[in-house]
Subunit: 573 residues, 2 copies
């Protein structure tokens, strides 16, 4: 008799094959039994406090594989994984999964559902819990189809062999398209036996054979444009991380002037020969550029100063995951391959040197009384070390981080299209966990807002429960300061309640064998003294620094942009 | 020149007309300006810590209108209201809105979106933040359409007059169908002027004219069946609350034997002449019943002991919102009207008295050392007073509450189809707020699980911020005990971390002028002593009682059912 493996174990072993060692989620009765198979399959179950946190954490877990460090020290996870229950569970996580879609992060969302019999009946007269009570059992899948790139619904298959084959294909889509996928499994199929030989066949993750000549021609054309350009420019955008373009853009940054948008901070080493820094809008050089390569284009309004920093179509070349757009014409070839061939072209024939603007020196540490946004973010440069992963929450961290100098191989996680408040604390949990699971180097450092922290505060409990290493700076400025600048500077609707951030870890059950450092700093002197202590730098255990700042303060550089954005809101009518 | 009112103010004034005085939500840049119109329209903005909490709170707010007390002391709110931002905000709340749909709660979900121009462009090349980045801007609406009964998308209208008229119709659907609705407004339409005369025309909330004879005939037939029945039975189910059937079922409970399902606890006064109690499964009388009326049928598995307590089609009459089903034939007439006429029929000709089973006496207070589930829930009967609203979270509170004796006019909120963990803490916020807004009597008392509390703990911050009156008993039993009984009694995946529940309020910023009582009880003596204190009974401010119970303990009565359910999960394969 052929050897078999239960479906649940098959699901998990495939994830393990993708270097995913942990599954995030909240247990539910429709898949409790599946959890008995996690450990035997070589994975860990991370019981998050809620599903939204689990979704963000799974997204963070997948992002850990994008760091430069990951490529130098081994392989990162190819996917993040999330397991929730039907209806109530999956919908609570759907914002995080949609965010993974928007920002091209490969996450596998597993959903435990009612039995096949229940699906067949789909009865309004006998509604099962977690349904809408009207027999429409497909509603959640219909929602998921809109925010995932592939789906497998096990209850649609009569033969379990066909279902797991569809699952394999869905996983392959997840990785190759770098987007989330959706997999639902009825409770009565979890233990169904799958022939072990199916599992023995590895997943097919390599791309289809390439013709080569298209890429070569394209690379030559682009190289020619760069050589003849008066002012060539490479802009690195956020999708360079998930599209795995970091090696290529760093090599290019030694050849032609290179800048990045906010979501790609850290992607290029600031020591690169032609490094211009992070664009907060058009610069003089940007305006003069006559050919602009954009790697991993996200091109969102928040990322490009409301599209003012996007060059005209005829001047630009976009390097996407599976296509390259040049002067408005789309070629269906992988952006990474074309970038690699372009590098070969350029290496043999370097472009003319172009004059570069002088770089801003890093500000020195200051001990002025209060901690201003301007001084804070540049001061933070002294905290960072190579291989750190730095998460910038929405709001002032996202803008302030542009003033921070990132050392070699720093991965910066800065959402620039999804921009969902509360994403980064659970994402930090997922990243720190992936670093531990896979032995990836570097600390996990989160710059969080007080408003953001309150959205997903229970993620701190998840961090504590897993005894993870996370350093958190909370910008405690009594509200949604970014929003204040848009409308309602003193409005109550922009306030958030004053929590005692340094006491949260204790209340969330931090055990005595898990090191917690929790401290409030109100002045630059206190901040500088803190940074002088060794304990803040070791990245071990949980560190929470509650940084008190003024409610209306934002980085000086950002004020004009925020004023414009606020004005736009007020003049739209 | 005709007088006008900005769209935003129009939106809010219509909600005020529906007795909704507060809007829950989290601010976002696409609708910040709308918030400037809330106070002038006579409403409050409740800035929740996150959108899921806001959604549950809006649901709770609407439920406050269902209490018996509401009918005796004035009008409750006809809807709850929720305002979130496009994409990230609305998706974070979607689980709560879907729950309102499943449990027939009228909630108005307003969503602030990008401008009309952005909608027209729907550009993948220039993606705006909070979109998926691929130009598919309608995705979130498509999701909302599946879990709301009506929608108005302002960007679809060229004339703002047409848009607000569609809005009015959507609100009318919300109330008349008792389901959530979805309304999206582009940021540039918030200030558009609407002729004031449109607002002067009141919303049409009364049902269409009835023929009357169909209802009369039906009522006579039902009455005849009851009169000739050997054992008639009325079962009150959860939708009797939103369908406004409480007056009718209480009158009927004085005429024929009456029981309820778990989700309708509190709907019938336990002093009613023919009151049988809450059904946990078929009883001897249920089995003998030859005609069974079901008011507000929800009929979910969790509510009906896996449908074992649903009578055969030919023996039953279902009273729905807009239809009555008798012996399998559906009549399109309002259930409430038919119930009223049935009462008239029966009053003039009472049915034969039927023998009733003896009722269980309430257990006396006990001072045994540990607090067992069995003793706890009956002990809680002594805490409750008329007009209280009691929320039972999923898990042991939902089952344990069946052993609690509810005084006159107690409203019990017990989800029995949606069953989403974490719903009840934010729902308690919404209910308590509605009570204050509308001067409704009675305390808001929540029985919460530790696992549930951690899902939406930031709702406690919302309660504190609004200085609401809420009493919370936390069943602190170290995990998902309900799930333990289904699978994995000692499994780690059913554990939740040990938080210090009595310290959370302080950490979440409870101010000194807001009374907080927070205490842990570990023994019956401590519990009895606490109940002997006046301070626990006044319902003022926040009270958190951390009740430590055994991880594996459930009410004795529930064990057999849980064992069966667990066995079903294990034998499905």
């Amino acid at each position: 008799m052929a050897k078999t493996v239960p479906v649940a174990k098959y699901l998990f072993q495939r994830l393990r094959e993708l270097n995913c060692h942990s599954v995030h989620g909240v247990p539910g009765d429709f898949f409790l039994r599946a959890l008995d198979h996690i450990r035997p399959a070589g994975l860990n179950w991370i019981g998050n406090a809620n599903e939204l946190c689990a979704g963000y954490a799974a997204d963070g877990y997948a992002r850990a594989g994008h760091s430069i460090a990951a490529r130098q020290f081994g392989s990162g996870p190819k996917v993040g994984a999330l397991f929730t229950t039907y209806g109530v569970g999956e919908l609570s996580a759907i914002n995080a999964v949609a965010g993974s879609y928007a920002e091209s992060i490969p996450v596998v969302h597993l959903v435990g559902t009612p039995s096949q019999k229940t699906w067949q009946a789909s009865s309004a007269a006998r509604p099962v819990h977690h349904t809408l009570g009207d027999g429409r059992m497909d509603v959640y899948t219909e929602m998921a189809e809109r925010i995932t790139c592939a789906q497998t619904k096990f209850h649609k298959y009569r033969r379990v062999e066909d279902a797991v084959q569809a699952y394999d294909e869905t996983l392959q889509e997840c990785v190759s398209r770098s987007k989330p996928v959706y997999v639902s499994i009825p409770v009565d199929m979890l233990e169904a036996p799958v022939p072990l030989e199916l599992l023995a066949k590895p997943l097919q993750l390599t791309a289809k054979g390439e013709t080569g000549s298209v890429e070569d021609d394209l690379a030559r054309n682009i190289a020619e444009r760069i050589r003849t350009a008066r002012a060539p420019l490479l802009i690195v955008d956020g999708l360079s991380y998930p599209y795995d373009l970091l090696a290529e853009v760093n090599a290019l940054a030694d050849m032609i002037p290179t800048a990045c948008f906010g979501s790609a901070m850290g992607a290029v080493d600031s020591g690169a020969k032609h490094w211009l820094g992070t664009l907060s809008g058009p610069t003089e050089y940007f305006d003069s550029a006559d050919v602009v390569l954009i790697a991993g284009p996200m091109l969102s309004d928040t990322n490009t100063a409301a599209w003012t920093a996007i060059p005209p179509t005829e001047d630009r070349v976009l390097f996407n995951l599976a296509s390259v757009e040049m002067a408005g014409i789309v070629h269906q070839v992988p952006g990474k391959t074309v970038l690699q061939r372009l590098l070969r072209e350029l290496s043999s024939n370097l472009p003319t040197a172009v004059p570069l603007p002088a770089r801003q020196p890093i500000k020195n540490l200051s001990v002025h009384t209060e901690i201003t946004q301007d001084v804070f973010w540049s001061t933070m440069s002294s905290l960072l070390k190579p291989d750190d992963t730095v998460l910038l929450a929405n709001g002032t961290p996202l803008i302030g981080g542009r003033d921070t100098e990132f050392p070699l191989r720093t991965q910066v996680v800065a959402s620039s299209i999804w921009c969902s408040i509360g994403q980064m604390l659970p994402a930090a949990q997922g990243i720190s966990l992936a670093k531990r699971d896979l032995g990836l180097p570097g600390r996990t450092i989160l710059f969080e807002g007080d408003g953001s922290f309150q959205v997903t505060c229970q993620a701190l409990s998840d961090i504590i429960r897993c005894k993870l290493d996370v350093t958190i700076f909370i910008v405690n400025n009594a509200g949604y300061t970014y929003e204040r600048w848009l409308n309602g500077m003193q409005a109550e609707y922009n306030d958030v309640p004053a929590w005692r951030y340094t006491e949260v870890a204790k209340v969330f059950g931090a055990p005595s064998d898990y090191p917690v450092l929790a401290v409030t700093v109100r002045t630059m002197t206190e901040l500088v003294n803190l940074l002088a202590q060794e304990s803040i730098h070791d990245g071990k255990g949980l560190k929470i620094v509650d940084v008190v700042m003024d409610a209306e303060d934002v980085p000086e550089k950002a004020k004009a942009g925020l004023r414009r954005a606020g004005e736009a809101l007020r003049t739209l009518m």
